[in-house]
Amino acid sequence: MIWQFDIIILIFLVVAAIVSLRLKDLLGASMVFGIYSFLICLLWAEMGAVDVAFTEAAVGAGVSTVIMIATVFSTTRRSKD
């Protein structure tokens, strides 16, 4: 519950979200999305929601990123925006 810590992570979150949406390489975008998930998981752990953070670490950063990368590999890495 350290608010300075909180604000830093929140700003990083916004940055990560924008970067992952602006990257033209889908593999990179998926990776940055994984970073976003880990950041938000850190935020939740810090806010006292340990179970939610645990789930997000396993699901958001783990499985979501893996299946997203699996899709990128079996389709295409190219993106126009």
Partner: protein, 249 residues
């Protein structure tokens, strides 16, 4: 489209921000949500009613167990939905696919994986079983257990992982998971109380009715873990092979 999207997004954002003004401050322990009767009941009574110190597990598996049952069903739907959409049953069993391109990663990755896989699986089991006292539970443990198979498939090739966890077996495990959860609820129904009213199970479980609630939570968490493990692996194996279940990443 871009302009329209921008306008719509800003209208939504302004509406939401306009409402934050009369929210209680962030972290205010006296806010209606945190100080309300329901959450006070959960915090103060959970342990005396269910003997589970982790309130999240208790609320998840008991007070709102009906929600969690449908959460498991959602996962199950995602699994069979992906198969229904993507699975290509033709050309699965041609043996040539198994020989080529499916030998997994290099030696180093294989060796490391074979070292850490048992620990991941043991930790996953710990997370499932220890959800009453520490963060975790059936869902998190199940995801980790599924992830261990995903790792196996990445390192040794999908065909190796499929020998351990074939498609038929995945489906059976997923069904068993939901069957454990729902069946446990139906057992309460048969013993004459409401669906998912675990307290009636003290006649067949050791301990009093509160311990029965505690034990039942473990049972349903195990059910959740079964389904989640199976579906996570099935999701990965379908998505990484475009539904052919051969030639993984």
């Amino acid at each position: 489209m871009k302009v329209f999207g921008l306008i719509a997004v800003f209208v939504v954002g302004l509406l939401l921000l306009s409402a934050t003004q009369d929210f209680p401050s962030w972290g205010d322990p006296r806010s209606a949500a945190s100080d309300g009767e329901v959450s006070s009941f959960y915090i103060e009574k959970t342990e005396s009613v269910t003997k589970v110190p982790n309130m999240v597990t208790a609320v998840l598996a008991d007070f709102r167990g009906y929600d969690t049952m449908f959460e498991t069903v959602v996962i199950f739907i995602a699994g069979i939905g992906i198969i229904a959409v993507l699975r290509n049953f033709e050309g699965t069993d041609s043996p040539s696919d198994h020989d080529n391109d499916d030998d997994g990663a290099g030696l180093l990755a294989r060796f490391t994986c074979s070292l850490i896989l048992p620990f991941i699986q043991i930790f996953a089991l710990y997370v499932v079983a220890h959800g009453h006292h520490s963060p975790g539970g059936g869902f998190q443990g199940g995801v980790m257990f599924g992830a261990s198979y995903i790792l196996l498939a990445l390192a040794f090739g999908l065909s190796k992982a499929k020998q351990l966890f074939s498609e038929r077996r995945t489906m059976i495990f997923a069904v068993i998971g939901i069957f454990i959860y729902v069946g446990w609820g139906v057992l309460c129904l048969l013993l004459g109380k409401e669906f998912l009213n675990y307290s009636v199970l003290d006649s067949i479980l050791p301990g009093d009715s509160m311990m029965a609630r505690s034990h039942s939570m473990l049972v349903v968490e195990i059910g959740v873990a079964f389904t989640v493990t199976a579906i996570m692996f099935s999701m990965y194996s379908n998505l990484s092979t475009r539904g052919r279940l051969s030639k993984g990443l």
